[in-house]
């Protein structure tokens, strides 16, 4: 079975701080990580391979430094890694990202494509479905459980108040949530071997993509402004004896509800 996992390198948004003066994001020193749910996707791919045999390929579109994410994925156990990297890919929205990723995927054979549900920086959850559409294969999103029997995949698709049990035939693209599994850590040997492997780098020209139709130029959406939200609050601290403070608080709550 051929499994492709799409991974994205992201800044660890939990560690992003805002410059109090310029109000810009301070990105320096913020560590880059594999998008957390992409690790769940990779873990599942490795488990499926361990059970049924086959090959796991990780693919990312990004700048040269995204190689680190691919090395980490190799260290976890992926067999091959591909970096789609070209200055013409830069500035892509999800439409152009899906176009580039699917152009590459059309050149390889796959039974299953796994993605994270959502990247923690762009936060759109759109790339998976858009890749599936470009490839003409079915999609199931928000998957928290996967079972495989022959060419049929049975999944649990999370809804707000429960889940749907869905059957679908391969090839299929699934986007997965963190409930699916707990990703493994790379072994020392895995890390060592990851550095012996070569990462294939693919450019726009390799894929026959027109630079006008990818990256920023091929993106229908445009970010026009970015601001850091400021929360304006008026704070009042109630002091005094417990009874007095509680009474005044109760008054405030009740008057707000009128």
């Amino acid at each position: 079975m051929n499994i492709v996992v799409l991974i994205k390198q992201v800044p660890n948004t939990a560690e992003i701080k805002i410059d109090p003066v310029t109000k810009n994001l301070i990105r320096d020193g913020v560590p880059s990580i594999i998008n957390p749910e992409d690790k769940n996707a990779l873990e599942e791919a490795l488990r499926i391979k361990e059970k049924f045999g086959g090959k796991v390929t990780v693919v990312t579109m990004g700048p040269a430094q995204a190689e680190e994410a691919l090395r980490e994925a190799l260290a976890m156990g992926a067999d091959e890694a591909v970096l789609l990297s070209d200055r013409f890919f830069a500035g892509a929205d999800t439409y152009a990202t899906a176009k580039t990723l699917s152009a590459f995927l059309k050149t390889v054979s796959y039974d299953l494509i796994l993605c994270g549900r959502q990247a923690i920086d762009g936060d759109t959850a759109q790339v998976g479905p858009q890749v599936a559409n470009k490839l003409g294969i079915p999609q199931v999103t928000y998957v928290k459980y996967i079972e495989i029997d022959g060419d049929t995949v049975t999944v649990k698709r999370t809804l707000e108040d429960g889940y749907e049990l869905i059957k679908v035939k391969m090839p299929v693209l699934l986007t997965v949530t963190k409930e699916l599994n707990t990703p493994r850590y790379p072994t020392i040997r895995g890390i060592f071997e990851a550095y012996q492997k070569t990462i294939r780098v693919v450019t726009a020209q390799d894929l026959g993509l027109n630079p006008e139709e990818i990256g920023l130029k091929g993106s229908p959406t445009r970010v026009v402004t970015i601001i850091t939200p400021e929360h304006q609050r008026e704070t009042e601290i109630l002091t005094g004896g417990t009874k007095e403070v509680v009474n005044r608080l109760a008054e405030k709550v009740l008057s707000a509800l009128k």
Binding site: D123, Q126, P129, Y142, I226, T228, V253
Partner: protein
């Protein structure tokens, strides 16, 4: 191309999602501003009774698409009939609520219509030329980006539930256009074997006027009993920070914030919560 503003009217088991009525209220506001119509696309089987409800909440036109194959939501079935309709009537804007279904359907449709899609918007506006200004949080709520789709039509966005205002239900007049869908069994490539409810009484936090929330400072699950008492007295609901949810003191459906629910109460009482950005992001008024 028309100037109309469309929404996907999401229904589950014949009940309209509240978040669909919210985006309908927003669509009506945008339509009035741009001199166009607010239209709802209603897809399902035996759901015609919902058409008037949509009109009463502000829809000028309801496109009603019914077929037994559309009884349950499927990406393939719903996107097929939606794309056919959008190609025929060419709306200027299409809005989806950013529910699990909306976020599944919208990117599929945007990809088929070769247009842009802005995710999880918390504010929308429209300029004189009919360009939609779409504002959304990104980078874990650390920034707010405003996004345009200047050259492609329709302009598409998903909208975070709990943020927009629905219109009060009133007797209104509108047009219902019934469309016979072109759909066959082969179009739908998945099979829904079962639908399982895991949350017995889905907490209606999004609609609560009073919320009493607890965080790590509660020190344990017992604290929530106290909060429940207070919430009950005030006729409200209990919320929680992610720290409390991750500690296992209360279930995820109570979580408020960036990765939880967006709420718009009149009074929010936070107990043992530090007010982290990702928590405060759950208050729609703050965005």
């Amino acid at each position: 191309m028309s100037k109309d503003i469309w929404i996907f009217a999401e229904q589950r088991n014949g009940i309209l999602m509240n978040s669909s009525l919210e985006i309908l209220g927003e669509a009506k506001r945008l339509a009035e501003k741009s001199g166009s119509k607010a239209c709802a696309v209603l897809i399902g089987n035996n759901v015609s009774q919902l058409s008037q409800e949509l009109i009463n909440h502000g829809a000028d036109i309801v496109y009603l698409i019914q077929d037994p194959l559309l009884e349950k939501y499927s990406t393939d079935g719903y996107s097929k009939v939606f794309v056919d309709l959008a190609k025929e009537y060419q709306p200027n804007v299409i809005l989806f609520s950013a529910t699990h279904i909306g976020r599944d359907l919208a990117p599929k449709i945007a990809s088929q219509l070769h247009t842009g899609l802005t995710a999880d918007c918390t504010k929308l506006d429209i300029d004189e030329e009919g360009n939609l200004l779409q504002t959304r949080p990104a980078f874990g709520g650390n920034i707010l980006a405003t996004i345009k789709c200047p050259e492609k039509r329709p302009q598409m966005a998903t909208v975070r539930p709990g943020v927009m205002q629905k219109l009060p239900k009133e007797e209104r007049k509108g047009e219902i256009i019934e469309i016979k869908p072109k759909i066959s069994k082969e179009d739908i490539r998945i099979e829904i074997v079962d639908v399982v409810k895991e949350i017995a009484n889905a907490v209606k936090l999004e609609e609560a006027e009073v919320i009493v929330s607890g965080g790590r400072g509660l020190g344990g699950p017992e604290g929530f009993k106290l909060l429940e008492k207070l919430a009950k007295l005030l006729g409200g609901c209990v919320g929680a920070s992610r720290a409390a949810v991750e500690a296992g003191w209360i279930s995820y459906d109570h979580q408020i914030g960036q990765t939880g629910k967006t709420v718009r109460p009149k009074v929010y009482i936070a107990c043992g919560i530090s007010g982290a950005l990702q928590h405060v992001a759950g208050d729609s008024v703050n965005l």
